[in-house]
């Protein structure tokens, strides 16, 4: 097999070989670029771990002007806001997907599907602006928070931003469930709803899990909208009121401070260290969703 392919390549004419070579170079260079970015992050971020003690780096105070580089509040801020956003967006997104795929009539599906995709195209700065002007006052007055720029406001905006991803991936997963499962459920005397809940959703669960992962990846990396609506106070988001207090995420910290920082300084290196943490986090989420997809393929098709 291997040998015959090689003979075939050798027999190919010039242009054929050139086209293949160009495609190969382009393909490899994309992967190469990602590797380069990672190496860049490493070389700029790793020094932070040697320049300041680990205790400081993992501390709970982020005051770069006083040499306090505790990244914990930023990390927890990112995690908290992402988790809350997912708690809001995941059920909503899955329900919307179920509605679009299972309940809405065909003509409504034709309208709703592209609309969901349009949602994904709204620039995040626009959503951030909307959050600032519309959501923040609602949160301040409606929930009695001291300021409208809170974790919760950020989570709401993030939830909205993750929704299109969750909806379309979950919808694809539902779409891949064979009609024969639905028929079997209905023929057993299950109602439409019982069939959706007990047959279709379990059958689509790996795809739905992937929707959650991808939505999470989308949320944790988001910067602009989050920066605009969360208040950006680098405090530890602990306690029950953390939701209604300002918070600062890793992404917002990098975006806000990178422009001000002296290149090559400790502060500069720490910002890259944060980027490194973020990279690893998103990479882990992507890896997890890829493994879900892999398992699904192993089980034969999109089951």
């Amino acid at each position: 097999m291997r040998r015959s392919r090689r003979t075939l390549v050798a027999l190919r004419s010039g242009p054929e070989w050139a086209i293949e070579a160009i495609i190969r170079v382009l393909g490899v260079s994309t992967i190469g670029l990602v590797a380069l970015i990672f190496i860049f992050l490493l070389t700029e971020g790793l020094p932070a771990f040697f320049e300041i003690p680990l205790g400081n780096l993992l501390g709970i105070r982020w005051y770069p002007t006083s040499e306090l580089y505790g990244t914990l509040p930023l990390l927890l801020g990112s995690v908290l806001i992402t988790v809350v956003a997912m708690i809001i967006a995941f059920p909503l997104g899955v329900c919307t997907a179920v509605f679009i795929r299972e309940i809405a009539p065909a003509w409504a599906r034709e309208i709703l599907k592209p609309m969901v995709e349009v949602l994904a195209g709204i620039p995040s700065v626009v959503l951030g602006f909307f959050g600032m002007v519309v959501l923040a006052p609602v949160v301040r007055e409606g929930l009695g928070a001291p300021t409208g720029l809170t974790t919760f406001t950020g989570a709401l905006v993030l939830a909205y931003m993750a929704l299109p991803t969750i909806i379309s991936v979950a919808e694809d997963a539902l779409d891949a469930v064979p009609k024969s499962y639905r028929d079997a459920g209905l023929a057993m005397g299950a109602t439409e709803w019982q069939t959706i809940w007990r047959v279709v959703l379990p059958a689509a669960r790996s795809g739905i899990l992937m929707a959650l992962m991808l939505g999470m990846g989308r949320a944790i990396g988001e910067t602009m909208a989050v920066m605009m609506v969360t208040g950006n106070a680098a405090r530890m988001p602990v306690g029950l009121d953390a939701l209604l207090r300002p918070v600062r995420t890793m992404t917002a910290t990098i975006a806000a401070e990178m422009g001000e920082v002296a290149s090559g300084s400790t502060h500069y290196h720490v910002l890259f260290a944060i980027a490194l943490i973020l990279f690893v986090l998103v990479f882990a989420i992507t890896l997890a969703s890829a493994s879900v997809m892999f398992r699904r393929r192993e089980r034969g098709g999109l089951r």
């Binding site: 079997a184 209905l186 057993m188 019982q194 007990r198």
Partner: protein, 255 residues
């Protein structure tokens, strides 16, 4: 005893008439085979008997179908209950991508709301009845999709039995199976008619001749509207049918 009676059933997909004036009595605890070439409406007719066509938006039906004398297309008739009483096995084995146990327990759990030990005994009894208990008693937590096709189809049959139906509709239940599995399904059918009424759609003449007590021959003249050509005891249909088209079909001249 007549279990199901169809009277002058006309069925339509939108404006297209797919069944014309089908009248047929299905006898209790007997096997009735519906035969005929592809597109003759036999499957459509069978799906009228448990109202599976309801989910097709453009489907409409005229005429009446009675189960134990009650019109199942009456507005007040409970479709969920109908489908518990009239179960269905499909052409391709379609177990849910869940464990063997959950597959069989689905009906009792979801529809009849059984729990715990009752559920266990229903699962065991249903699997026993289709001859899968010995093979699968230690594999109840295994994914049903990992079974062989024949086992999957018998599992689907066990899943139907778990809701204790009165009628079982089988839509070419053996067409995806090898000859040995096919024979097992046929043997099962002969055992099951002690308790159940069975209607089977099949393309396989020998199968109809082997298993059924009654045979209904469907045909379409125009490739669209299915009609009932002849209905009678299987022995008679296969040896001395009244209609020439029946002779032509069962002797393999077309179809």
């Amino acid at each position: 005893m007549i279990k199901i009676r169809a009277e002058h059933v006309d069925a339509y997909y939108g404006a297209k008439q797919v069944l014309a004036d089908i009248s047929l009595d299905i006898k209790e605890r007997q096997i009735t085979a519906l035969i005929g070439p592809s597109g003759c409406g036999k499957s459509t007719f069978m799906r009228c008997l448990n109202r599976m066509n309801d989910s097709v938006r453009i489907f409409s039906l005229r005429g009446d179908v009675y189960l134990d004398g009650d019109p199942i297309y009456a507005d007040t008739y409970d479709v969920v209950q109908l489908r518990q009483r009239v179960g269905m096995v499909f052409q391709r084995p379609n177990p849910f991508p869940q464990t063997v146990y959950d597959n069989v327990a689905f009906g009792p759990r979801v529809v009849a709301r059984e729990r715990g030990a009752d559920l266990d005994s229903i699962v065991e009894e249903s699997l026993r009845r289709v001859g899968l208990w010995q093979e699968l008693r230690d594999k109840l937590t295994q994914d049903a999709l990992s079974l062989s096709l024949g086992q999957q189809q018998r599992l689907c049959l066990a899943r139907v039995l778990s809701t204790r139906p009165e009628v079982i509709l089988m839509d070419e239940p053996a067409s995806a199976l090898d000859p040995i599995e096919t024979l097992r399904i046929e043997d099962l059918m002969r055992e099951l008619i002690e308790l159940y009424t069975i209607v089977i759609v099949t393309h396989n003449m020998q199968q109809a001749a082997r298993v059924s007590d009654w045979t209904a021959f469907f045909l379409t003249d125009d490739g669209l509207t299915g009609k009932l050509v002849e209905y009678g005891e299987t022995g008679q249909i296969f040896t001395q049918p009244d209609d020439k088209r029946t002779i032509d079909y069962i002797t393999g001249r077309f179809g």
